[in-house]
Symmetry: C2
Subunit: 285 residues, 2 copies
């Protein structure tokens, strides 16, 4: 049995608890909160379900104990440097860290990679939503002057998106000032954005999300190959499930002495699933 602990007990941490309990090869090794001491933690792998910007702090501590870590670090422009930062400490302590292990980044990254392998020339568009972005919602909530927030991602075609950020202001705060703070945050700097002040964000709070990844490309010189991956999902439930599948993969990477920090596209897909090699080939290949 793989001993899996959860660090951070928000939407994803709670969903991860369900996923671990349903996995026949895992047992829950504890739930840790934000400020808990990790001194005496006993686990093979820890799902770091904290806000993205706190992940590094905890992952470093855990990897230094030789405990594998899984996170869903979601700032796309910083994934490479995040992985590189965790790599030496993981290697030094014989541990494995799988970073950015959600659906995007995460399984969508695998889809984009396989689509590129199938059609080396072409264009891939990743269209998100409409749905509530967990990472952007957390980032908006952390902005000074914001009491509560929900960030909705709306696809506007060809991989472009608008973000509608519904905010409840702290008393006495000025909308324009807070708007400016949101727009200048790196999370929000890359897309058109509407910041909308509301009395309550609850009507906009949904866990439903989705994606449509489309690629039109060329295979062996033949154009017009059409590939697409689509899903409609529960956002924290899917993110947590992917983290749990990555926990299994991390233990298998470690067992084959492939230590270090990795993204989902570094992992042999067979490592994610709770089947032995013969079963996996006979049922999936």
């Amino acid at each position: 049995m793989i001993k899996v602990a959860i660090l951070g007990y928000g939407n994803i941490g709670k969903a991860a608890e369900q996923a671990i309990q349903k996995a026949s090869d895992m047992e829950l090794a504890g739930i840790y909160h934000h400020n808990d001491s990790l001194e005496n933690i006993q686990a093979d792998v820890v799902l770091v379900c904290t806000p993205t910007r706190e992940i590094r702090h905890y992952a470093n501590q855990l990897l230094a104990k030789g405990i594998c870590t899984i996170d869903s670090f979601d700032i796309h422009t910083e994934i490479y440097s995040h992985m590189q930062a965790l790599k030496p400490i993981a290697m030094q302590h014989g541990a494995v860290s799988i970073v950015s292990a959600g659906w995007d980044p995460g399984t969508d990254s695998i889809m984009r990679t396989i689509m590129l392998a199938m059609t080396p020339e072409g264009q891939t568009y990743t269209n998100f939503g409409p749905g509530r972005s967990m990472g952007h919602t957390v980032a908006a909530k952390a902005i000074q002057g914001v009491k509560d927030a929900v960030s909705i991602t709306i696809p506007i075609g060809e991989g472009k998106h608008q973000r509608d950020v519904y905010i409840q202001l702290e008393e006495g705060e000025d909308l324009q000032t807070v708007q400016q703070r949101i727009i200048s945050d790196d999370y929000f700097a890359h897309d058109p954005i509407n910041v909308i002040a509301v009395d309550s964000v609850l009507p906009f709070d949904t866990h439903n999300h989705g994606v449509l990844i489309q690629r039109e490309g060329v295979a062996s010189g033949i154009s017009d190959q059409q590939l697409s991956f689509a899903m409609t999902i529960n956002n924290p439930a899917l993110t947590a499930q992917i983290m749990v599948s990555c926990a299994r993969a991390a233990i298998r990477m470690k067992a084959s002495q492939q230590y270090g920090a990795f993204t989902t596209i570094h992992i042999p897909p067979i490592y994610f699933v709770p089947l032995d090699e013969e079963q996996a080939i006979k049922t999936l290949v």
Copy 2:
């Protein structure tokens, strides 16, 4: 530059030639036909583009020389034993063989594996076509009494298919006898089948094909997660392109001393694409 040779110059071999010429990290190391001697072959990796039942014979010879092999072995029920048969000789000679490296088995296998990792409970349906099955067409052509054949795969829902096998009989052959031979072949034993005698199979000869993989499953205890992968493609062009991307992956597996025989779900997806690690993460993850 990776030196890639082609063995077998039918539809897939010809498409592979195009794919190799378009790959900036590869050079064509020769085209070998069915009965050519492989004694003096100089290549890092050989794409074995022969009919499925001849693959083993050639792959064994090549692996024994330490040359990596890629094949698109497509009898689903025999993939595990095919891989197991090639594994010891590949390991012994420090080579890598990637078997069943087409789109199904192949990239579809990766999609099914990732979908299972995302939703461990649920049902996956793989719906093919309508389109001409290369493997079944070759198998039908090899049946005694068949002069020419085209086997069309027609989806009939929930992952079930009908095969319409158009055949031109050899002179003096009896349709019912030939029908019986086709039906008793393992390639055709698993699906409802119509064998239709025609004067010419040309009107049914198409390279267009496609697939729709659908999964409805449970993530972290939450049901109704809907995943799908769909494509419409040129069959030999895509098969050849995937084999070429697997040639790159085989060389990378070999470089990291991971010798043996593998399916596509054993391979880290990043190995398939002609990008360095930083580029791959920054553009795909």
